[in-house]
């Protein structure tokens, strides 16, 4: 039982990191990315390769993953600076689809669909550790950084850009730089989550980094509540425990459990947007359109 719970908790922490970092882009900077799984994947591959080729050190793997994802986040920052709204969502969708093809084809780095196996578990300074404390530590650091940043001038800048980009510009804010930084921060965080994921699963393949995964992460943020510190975490925990919770409902035929679960989370997304667009934690005014 404990192993099962530890495993779930580790995955939970990893997805909390993903949701929390995506929230920086979506909730604070108004950059609605549907490509978060791409950077999750980049981090996972980077972390896995560091562990496989160099040393299986968790910190090093996370650092490398954050670097790789952060730097390549430029692919996302570029359209974010050019277009907004629906166009940007479309661009990030395009990026997501292309990335999946690339992940499948760049077999020397990613192992393609076959994936990378035998990734060593996490170690800290040569000592084997469980993923959970490392993941919780990373989550805490990222949450703290997010909370501090969002309360700082940088957070104000992002929110100002989200609410009224032209006014922020007119007050001397370098919108391009701020957006690029926000995207880099969010993607680097996704990279850290990726490295943890790779070390925890000891196996990664492209199927964990598809559009469905991106949508799941996005649903976590939305259902929990954008632009709040805790909302995304609530969303992540709810969506991750949904399958386990449904498994205990006896009247659902076991062959349909997966579909029922998908229907529930689809319905939850739709109904929430109709009746409580701010999410479960967010305040109600936040769902309204940003000028």
């Amino acid at each position: 039982m404990t192993a099962y719970l530890t495993n779930l908790a580790s995955l939970g922490a990893i997805f909390c990191i993903l949701a929390a970092t995506l929230n920086v882009a979506v909730g604070y900077a108004g950059i609605f990315s549907v490509a978060h799984a791409v950077f999750f994947g980049l981090g996972a591959y980077a972390g896995a390769q560091v562990s496989l080729l160099l040393v299986p050190d968790a910190l090093l793997a996370m650092l490398a993953a954050a670097l790789v994802s952060g730097v390549l986040s430029l692919c996302l920052a570029l359209p974010a600076l050019r277009v907004r709204g629906e166009y940007f969502v479309a661009a990030s969708l395009g990026l997501q689809m292309m990335a999946v093809t690339l992940f499948s084809e760049a077999k020397t780095v990613t192992g393609g669909i076959g994936g990378l196996t035998g990734i060593p578990g996490p170690r800290l300074f040569g000592v084997e550790v469980s993923t959970l404390p490392v993941a919780l530590g990373a989550l805490a650091v990222i949450l703290l950084a997010t909370a501090l940043l969002m309360r700082s001038s940088f957070g104000r800048t992002l929110q100002a850009i989200r609410d009224a980009e032209s006014a922020a510009e007119a007050l001397g804010k370098n919108v391009a730089a701020a957006k690029a930084l926000a995207v880099a921060f969010a993607c680097a965080g996704a990279g850290v989550a990726g490295a943890l994921f790779a070390m925890h699963m000891q196996f990664v393949n492209v199927e964990s980094f598809t559009l469905d995964q991106s949508v799941l992460i996005m649903a976590m943020v939305i259902i929990g509540g954008t632009g709040t510190l805790w909302g995304p975490l609530v969303g992540a925990v709810i969506l991750l425990s949904l399958p386990a919770g449904l498994a205990f409902l006896p009247f659902i035929p076991s062959t349909e459990v997966g579909a029922v679960q998908q229907v529930i989370y689809g319905l939850a997304m739709t109904l929430l947007m109709i009746f409580r667009p701010a999410g479960l934690v967010g305040d109600l005014s936040r769902g309204k359109s940003h000028a």
């Binding site: 001038s153 104000r156 510009e169 730089a177 930084l181």
Partner: protein
């Protein structure tokens, strides 16, 4: 008379064959209020957009303290000391009043602002001062979207005050204000003028113009038709005909 802070010469811009601004020349001097007056669609806001870099000019130039600001991005122009307001305000609606103003004092997009604690205290002081001057101190924690109309207008002014710019471009800052608010707004403007800010405002209310403006530039169809003392311009029957021709609510 001191040298003008901002000089525009022959600014032009057309949209799909229509000349929105056709060769506008304008100069703004420290401690002077210039009003841009003219019927709707005369190109007043476009002029602002050309100066601030929100639009590229087809021709002409704009010099700030002798340096060209053509081709600069909006935030770069802003950092040179040009602050502007928008007709539709564009407040940071989900942020508190204080954060709206504080954001105006911070120009670095990096994770932190330069200058350390001393600079931070200075920004906070500027914020509190701007809030006090606009009468918003009591509302500092309220969210911008929850403010009343007049309070929003003053918040827009507070952002400009806090930005410490020496050129203000104000797009209909007094429109829709009741009499007492308008008076307070007038005081704000006069004080800024005393401190040597060069102000340019787009205004439809001729009472406000007469009360506050030192000079008037009359725009129609993208051109400056006349420029000079308010009394002289407003007394010109030809301009009045143009001005009132398609507007009845101006008075």
């Amino acid at each position: 008379m001191t040298a003008p802070l901002l000089i525009c010469e022959g600014l032009s811009r057309s949209f799909g064959g229509v000349k929105a601004v056709a060769g506008v020349s304008l100069s703004l001097t420290a401690g002077m209020v210039t009003a841009l007056v003219g019927p709707n669609g005369a190109g007043k806001t476009t002029c602002f957009n050309l100066i601030t870099g929100n639009l590229r000019a087809d021709a002409g130039k704009a010099m700030l303290r002798g340096q060209s600001i053509m081709g600069l991005k909006p935030h770069q122009v802003a950092r040179q000391g040009v602050a502007r307001s928008f007709q539709d305000l564009r407040l940071f609606t989900h942020m508190s009043v204080r954060d709206n103003v504080l954001a105006a004092t911070e120009t670095s997009a990096w994770f932190w602002q330069p200058g350390g604690a001393a600079a931070r205290r200075a920004r906070e002081a500027a914020t509190e001062e701007a809030l006090a001057r606009t009468g918003l101190t009591a509302l500092a924690e309220a969210r911008a979207m929850d403010l009343a109309y007049a309070e929003r207008k003053f918040l827009s002014m507070a952002r400009i005050l806090a930005a410490r710019a020496d050129i203000w471009l104000l797009d209909e800052p007094a429109s829709g204000l009741d009499l007492s608010s308008r008076r307070r707004f007038g005081e704000l403007l006069k004080e800024a003028r005393r401190q040597g800010v060069a102000i340019c405002l787009i205004e439809h209310n001729l009472d406000v113009v007469t009360e506050l403006a030192d000079r008037i530039a009359f725009l129609d169809q993208g051109k400056v038709l006349a420029e000079g003392e308010p009394e002289a311009i407003l007394r010109d029957p030809k301009l009045a005909a143009i001005y009132f021709g398609d507007r009845e609510d101006a008075a």
